[in-house]
Structures are given as C-alpha cells and as structure tokens.
Amino acid sequence: MGKYLLRRILQMIPVVLGTTLLVYALVFALPGDPVKAMFGDKPVNDAVAAQIRAEYNLDKPFIVQYLLFLKNALTLDFGNTFAGQPVIDEIGRAFPVTIRLALMAFVFEALFGVVFGIISGLKKGKWYDTVILIVSLLLISVPTFVTGFLGQYLFGVEWGILPVTAGANPGFFDLLLPAMVLGSVSMAYIIRLTRAEVSSNIAEDYVRTARAKGMGSRSVLFRHILRNSLIPVVTYLGQDLGVLMGGAMISETIFNIHGVGYLTYQSILKGEANLVVSIVTLLMLIFVVCNLLVDLLYAALDPRIRYA
C-alpha cells in the first residue's frame, strides 16, 4: 500500500513537468503581444515596454522563461500579474468560489443521478424510465451554454425564483442555478451508468441466491444490487470532481461568477503566462489527486482489486 502510494506520487512529477511545459508553450505561442495589450489603444513607449519585458522575463528565450517560472514555483513564488498583483492572491480569491460551486454541482449530480438511475434501472421499460432516459439524452446532447441561458431565462427572468447572475462573493442561492447547470451533463451520464449497472446486477446469480436465502427485497436491493452497482458510479464521481473544478469556465462566464474558470479566461485573453500556467498546474494537481483517491477507493470498495 505504502509502496504503491509512493510510486503513484512519484508518477505525478513527470505529469506536472509535462503539463506545465505544454501550457507554457501554448501561452507563449498565442498571437499578440501581452505588453501591447496592457496599453490597449495608447501608444507604447519603447523604453517602458523593454523595461516591462525585462521585468517579466519576456525578453528571454522561451525555455529560459519556462525554467525561471519552474524555479520560482518551487519556492511557491508564482510571480505577479501584469497589473502587479501576486498570482497567488488572484488564485486565492478565485478558488474558494469555484470549490463551492463544484461541490454543489457534485452533490446535485451525485444525488439526482444515482436516484434517477436506480429508479430507471429497477423499472426498465416503464414510462418513467423512458422519460428519464430522454431527459438525460437531452442534457448530454445540448451544450452547457444553452442549458445555462435557458435556466437563466426560466428561473431568473421568467419566474424570478433564482438570481440571474452571481457576481462577486456569491452565496448558496446565487450558486444554485449555476451548480445545477454545471452538474447537469455529468448527472445525465451518472443516470445512464447507474441504470445500466443496476439493470445488469438485478439479473446476477448472486442476487437470486440472496433472495433464495429469504432476504427481503429491500435488503437485497441495498446489500447486493446497489452495493455492487455503485462501485463504477463512485469511481466516475471521483474523477468528475476534478473535471468540475476545471470545467466551470462556461457556467462561470454565463453567470458572471469570479471563480477559476472566469480567471483563466481573462488571463488567457491578456496573455498572462504565469497566471494561466499556475492555474492549470493547480487544476491538474487536483485532478491527479482525485484520480489517486478514486483508485484507492476502488480497491476499498471492491475486494478483488489489489494494488499492483
């Protein structure tokens, strides 16, 4: 177990190096000059521009810039934004908002996804199974921004029960609709996954054996059908937590939430390499850790899986 954990953690090193290099290169390759962008339409004084370039190491070759960034990042110094703010502060403001949003979306999709999936899987072919299937198919095929605008229009404008946008420092109700929109696609996948698992587990021989023991249908459902069906669902959910953190960009933009997605979008526009790479690295770390937790959880849930 310890050995396995150590190996998995060591495996993260090349992953971190690879992603940061890739993202750094992508930002570097972006068209446009970040210094010019800072001045907007105003004419740029060459001397000032050169000074800024020197300050942010923009005059150095790509690989040197990257290595300098890495060196500083190791001492947890992620540098400053072009506006002079420390990158770490920007991230510190944005992350709590996104974490809150992602967790709410997570709870939403887990709860409704599993419940509807079970109902559907137990009563395959009934009318409500068909309805659930069609709705989940719709949610999967319609892009998030459409669901987002639709939700905004219906709940916010037409019925006026939920705030239209969240703004800075959003509370629970401000984030409710964005979280539902954010979690809707994953919820649809979870419904389908749970449904498939439940309906195939019902027909398993050990379920019949359990019933032959004289167990009531409720305990057979919980102890044998659900316990086994939820193993793949739980692992999907674990990975999805990482996806939700990084994938909030569209919902955050629609609902004007100043979270990680919003910040990333802004910094890409401005060519803020330090900020973009820092955010992506952090998201990636979250993703990798979620993955590791899922693998550990998987082994805990299914005794047949052993660390190797």
Partner: protein, 671 residues
C-alpha cells in the same frame, strides 16, 4: 442389516404418514418474449417430494427442469410466471402467495444450492457475511439447533425427553475448557491407552464450535466410556450456546470447509470452485429448510470434487432430515443419488418412478436415449459386458486399437520431459504447473490426459499448441522441435495442429457469422478464392451434420452443442493432422456430448486424425480414448491403454478418479 432395513421401512412409513412435503400438480410456466409471444417452458408437470427424500429431475438444458424448481422457489427469471397448476409446500399453496410471504418461506422452509458456484456469491462481501445474511434474514436462533419435523419423528421418544437446551451449540470460547474437562473426565472414568487417544481424536474432529450440540457431546462422552451423569454434567457446564461467528464457522465446517473460522473472513475470489460450492451449501442449509433445491450443484466441478461434495451433502441432509429436489442432466448421477427420478423433456414430465426402475426399464423413448447416452452408464456397460465375455467393442463409440496396432503406429507428437514453471506473486519459489511430463501421441489414435483442475493438463495442451513456451523439455511434431518454429514453419504447424476449446460460448466471436468463423482460418492461410472457400465451408458444415442454412446465422442463435460442432468444423477447415480438445465436451449436456463424441470419432475414422483429449471425466475417456495419461499436481502418475487403466489402475489416485464416475456402483439391467 435388519436394523438398517427397519430404519428404511420406518422412514418410508413416516414419509407416507406425513404426506408429501412438496406437491407439484399440472404446473404450467410461461415466458413472454419481446415480441409478446408466449413460450410454454413447463407444461402440465406433476411430481412430489416426501420428507427426507431425494428426488431427481433429469433432462437436457431447456427441458424445463430448472424452471420448475425456480417456480417452486418463486424465483422465476424475467418474464417467467406460473400460468396454471398448483405447488403445495407442506399443504400450503405457493402459486397465490404475495412476494412478501414468499420471502418468509425462502431460506427457512426451502433452500437453494445453485448451479454455478463462480457467479452465485457476491464478490464484494466476505463469505461469512453472506452466510450471516441468511441467518439474519430468517431470524434464526444461532445458539440452538433446529431439528426438522422428520428428524424429530424419526428419533421418536428419544428426542421428546430432551429439552430445548440440549440443542445448544458449543461456542468457540468454551471449547478449550470443554476439551480439558472431557480429557480429565475420561481419565477419571478410567479410560486410557488407545481407546483414550481415539476418543480424544474423535472429539477434536467432531466437536466443531457452532455446529455440535450439547446432547451430542454428552452422547459422545457416554460412548467413550463415561458415566451418564458425569457426561451430562460436563455437557451442561461447558456447552452453553454459540455466538454468530461460531455459528457461521459451524455451518461452513459442516459443509466440509476446513479451517472455517478463518475462511469465513475471506472473499469469494479467494476460494476455489469446490470451496465456493461448499459455502453455498452452508447458505442453503443455514436455516434448516425442510426442502433443499439443488440445481445442478456440482455440474461445474471436477468429478472427484463432485463426488466429495455430493457425499457430504447426502450425509448432511440425511442427518438433518432435509428433503432434496436434485436437478441434473446426468441420469447416472441421478440414479445414484436419488430414490425417485422424474424425467423431463420439452417442458413435460415424460417419465417418473423409483430410480432403478427408470434406469433398468425406461419406458419413454427419450429416457431410453438418456440411458444410452449417459457416459457414466456407458462405461459401466462396457465393463459389465467385458466381464460377461460379451463383445464390448460394439458398446464403445470408439473402436480402440489393439496393442499391436498401437505399437506399429508412428508418433506424431512427442512430449519429452516437459516442465512449466510460473512465478507466483509475492513468492520467491516458482510454481511447477507441469513437472517433467513425457508421452507421445500416435498417428490416428486418441490420447486422453486426465486429471482434476489444477493438475496441469491444460497447461500441457497449451504448450503442445505452442501457445505457451515450456520452461524445460521439448514438444516434437513430426520429428521437429516446435520451439524452433518461426514464420512460415510456424504457420504450417498452426495449420496442422488445431484446438477445440472447452467453452463453445466463448470460443466463437459473437460478431462473426458462422460462415465467417469457419472461413477465417482459410482466409488467414490464404487458401483458395472466395468461391472455393464457400464450397469448403459447405463441406465442413456437412461434415459436422449442420445444415447449410446456419452460415448466415450468429453464435447466439445456436445451442451449446451446435456451437461446439461449429468450433470443430472450424478446427477441421485446414485439414489438420492433430486436434487438441481441451475439455471439449465438458460443458455440454449428455445427449449433445454423445453426439459430439460420435462426430469426433467418425471424423477420426474417415480422416485418420489424431486427438489429444484433455478432460477431467474418465467416463468420457472410456468411450473415446486409446491411451490415457493421468496427471496429478503437474506430474504424470499413470500412462497406459484405456482398458488397462480401467481394469487395473496402478495408482490410488486413478482409482479415486474411477470411483468418482457417477453411477459406477449401480446395478444395471443389461438386456
């Protein structure tokens, strides 16, 4: 002898007096297909089971035997439902029960030992937990034994004297003290020497915590030579009831699982098939049902394991007074185990009666076919015929070559000091799956490799097929070492040595049509054009007695036997010299098995094929092989002609395998 007869008479009288435990009358079970068509799976079936009796339902797959049993349990799969007739358990009508009331009957009144031990235990729960569920679901008293009505009636006045507390189990906590007390008690009673040792050994073996009761302990002590009062005093002081863990371990050890307390904490995947089946027997009997439904409980297991488990189940149900509805496709096995046989065919009961009666004077043509096809009975018939000096050859599917002919024939495949080692996880030493095995297969003959699972026989087959590389030793084909085969030579070898595997469901690609499956080897080896290949496929289908019309169909539309014939046709496509059959008929029903064996035999006669036949079933060997190699724990333990092995087995292990053939001791009416 007279006492045994008395008990037997007594039992029958009691059974008659109590009336049938299970009475199925004119049962109809229907399934509805997707297209709303009604399929009658069981039609007008009637049979009954008396208390304490073993009744066997025999038939091929699809005959409705399992469906009838599941209807009794109220566990019909999918769209299945009882559409007519009645099922009475202990006088209570089951067909009109609500699901909730059915739950109450299952487990406590009727138990199930299912067919496939691999899929019937939930992989995520510990074995002990799964036994516990049965006890908890039925609110079983885990500190007392529950005696069936029949057992109580049989014991008569003897039991009436005993109070409920005499049925208390030994607990694991008090067992050491009990052993001590028994030891000193015996010494005080003046028991010594060999008798003392024997008694203590008996106690050590029999007094399992959670399964042995107070009165049995007292009984054992009295038998060992202790006074009545002393024995009861010890039993009363040291046998005061078990807890849940004890009871679980007790049930498991009762079912024949060694070291049960530790085993209970393991997961199903850590168990072998036989061990899982024992766990399932423990679950089936956990709540002491009056009726146990055993649905092909050992069909998935090796013959030797099958015999051990059925012997055990028999003793257990006899001592508990449990009636057993035993479902099997092997008539020999049914006749050996059950007092009464019900033969089902296409959803109907075509014949039923006392076992020997059915076996010796089958009335219905289908039963006659079953009797003729049962491999267990066939091999016995050969032996009896030989004893009476009759022409046994005509009874065999396969006319074995005599010794002289075997001497003359040349060796097509020679296996020389073959060894295969595997690395086991977390262990230093290597595991020898095959240990120094040598034999040779002669052209145009059949060599059978026999052994239990884990004996290394399939590993040998894989090395002969060059699917595995040996750790040491050589396999020679036509005088050439196959280890050196590469490129064209290897392709040529593959062409001439073809496999037929055990599972006809897994060895055909479900996405390939039958035509494509058979044509594939021809295409890979670049033989002929589309037109000539089509012709060849037609020939091959004809060879295995399948109609041309199956060419466009897919494996899932065919039965197991049909699929195995397709697999044989595919193996034959390239005109091989050698076919390696790895348990090729083990998964098939007896009648289908019979057909496939006949087919293999005809093909050998026509084309001079050589077979390497891997199986655990000696009954099949008798019908098809010229020579037999017996393997145990990776080693070759016996190698001789088939007749010699059957008549004069040299090794104890071979004798065990022979004894395990079901129906071996039955008296057949040979007419």
């Amino acid at each position: 002898m007279s006492k045994v007869m008395n008990t037997a008479n007594n039992l029958e009288a009691l059974q008659r007096e109590q009336g049938p435990l299970l009475e199925v009358k004119n049962l109809q079970v229907d399934f509805t297909t997707d297209s709303n068509r009604v399929v009658h799976a069981v039609r007008d079936a009637s049979f009954s089971v008396y208390p304490g009796q073993w009744v066997a339902i025999v038939g091929e797959s699809g005959s409705g035997k399992s469906t009838s049993a599941m209807a009794v349990l109220g566990l019909l799969a999918g769209t299945g439902h009882v559409s007519g007739g009645s099922i009475k358990l202990d006088g209570q009508e089951l067909t009109e029960l609500k699901p909730k009331d059915f739950d109450k009957l299952r487990g406590s009144k009727m138990g199930l030992v299912p067919q496939d031990p691999m899929s019937n235990l939930n992989p995520v729960w510990r074995i002990g937990t799964q036994v516990k569920e049965a006890l908890v679901a039925n609110g079983m008293d885990i500190s007392h034994e529950k005696r069936s009505k029949l057992a109580t009636a049989l014991a008569g006045g003897e039991v009436a004297v005993k109070s409920a507390d005499d049925e208390l189990f030994i607990s694991s906590a008090e067992r050491p003290a009990l052993m001590e007390a028994a030891k000193s008690g015996l010494q005080k009673a003046g028991v010594d020497g060999e008798r003392f040792e024997a008694a203590m050994q008996h106690f050590e073996q029999e007094w399992d915590a959670g399964s042995q009761t107070r009165w049995r302990v007292a009984d054992d002590l009295i038998q060992a030579g202790m006074g009545d009062d002393e024995a009861w005093a010890i039993a009363k002081q040291y046998v005061t009831g078990s807890n849940m863990e004890d009871r679980i371990a007790g049930l498991l050890s009762e079912a024949g699982l060694p070291d049960a307390a530790t085993r209970a904490r393991q997961f199903p995947h850590e168990f072998s098939g036989g061990m899982r089946q024992r766990a399932l027997i423990a679950i089936g009997l956990a709540c002491r049902p009056d009726l146990l439904i055993a649905d092909e409980p050992t069909s998935a297991l090796d013959v030797t394991v099958q015999k051990r488990i059925l012997d055990h189940l028999h003793n257990l149900t006899d001592s508990l007074g449990t009636a057993v509805l035993f479902i099997t496709h092997d008539l020999g096995l049914a006749a050996e185990r059950a007092q009464h046989i019900v033969v089902m065919y296409k959803g109907q009961v075509v014949e039923s009666g006392p076992s020997l009666e059915v076996l010796q004077h089958p009335q219905h043509p289908y039963t006659k076919r079953l009797v003729a096809a049962a491999p267990s009975l066939a091999s016995q018939r050969i032996i009896s015929a030989q004893k009476q000096g009759l022409d046994a050859e005509s009874l065999k599917e396969h006319h074995t070559k005599d010794d002289a002919a075997l001497e003359r024939s040349e060796h097509i495949i020679t296996v020389d000091h073959l060894t295969k080692e595997f690395k086991l996880p977390r262990r230093k030493e290597m595991f020898k799956a095959v240990d120094d095995v040598s034999f040779s297969l002669k052209r145009g003959t059949t060599l059978a490799i026999v052994g239990e699972s884990g004996s290394g026989k399939s590993t040998v087959a894989n090395m002969v097929l060059k699917l595995l590389e040996p750790s040491a030793g050589t396999v020679t084909y036509e005088g050439k070492n196959i280890a050196g085969f590469k490129g064209k030579e290897l392709l040529d070898f593959r062409r001439h040595v073809q496999p037929v595997f055990q599972n006809p469901y897994g060895s055909l690609d479900p996405m390939y049509s039958i035509y494509r499956s058979i044509e594939e080897p021809l295409r890979i080896h670049g033989i002929g054009d589309t037109k000539s290949r089509r012709k060849r496929v037609r020939e091959l289908l004809d060879m295995v007695n399948m109609p041309e019309s199956v060419m466009g169909r897919y494996p899932n539309e065919l039965s197991g036997g049909q699929r195995q014939r397709i697999a044989i046709a595919r193996a034959m496509a390239l005109n091989p010299d050698v076919i390696v059959c790895d348990e090729a008929v083990s998964a098939l029903d007896v009648l289908v098995q019979d057909q496939v064996l006949r087919l293999l035999n005809d093909l050998q006669a026509e084309q001079g094929l050589s077979y390497l036949f891997i199986t655990h079933d000696l009954a099949v060997v008798r019908q098809i092989a010229d020579e037999v190699v017996v393997m145990q724990h990776g080693k070759l333990v016996e190698h001789a002609t088939t007749d010699e092995v059957f008549e004069h087995p040299k090794m104890k292990y071979t004798q065990d395998l022979l004894d395990a053939i079901p129906g071996g001791k039955l008296q057949l009416g040979l007419d």
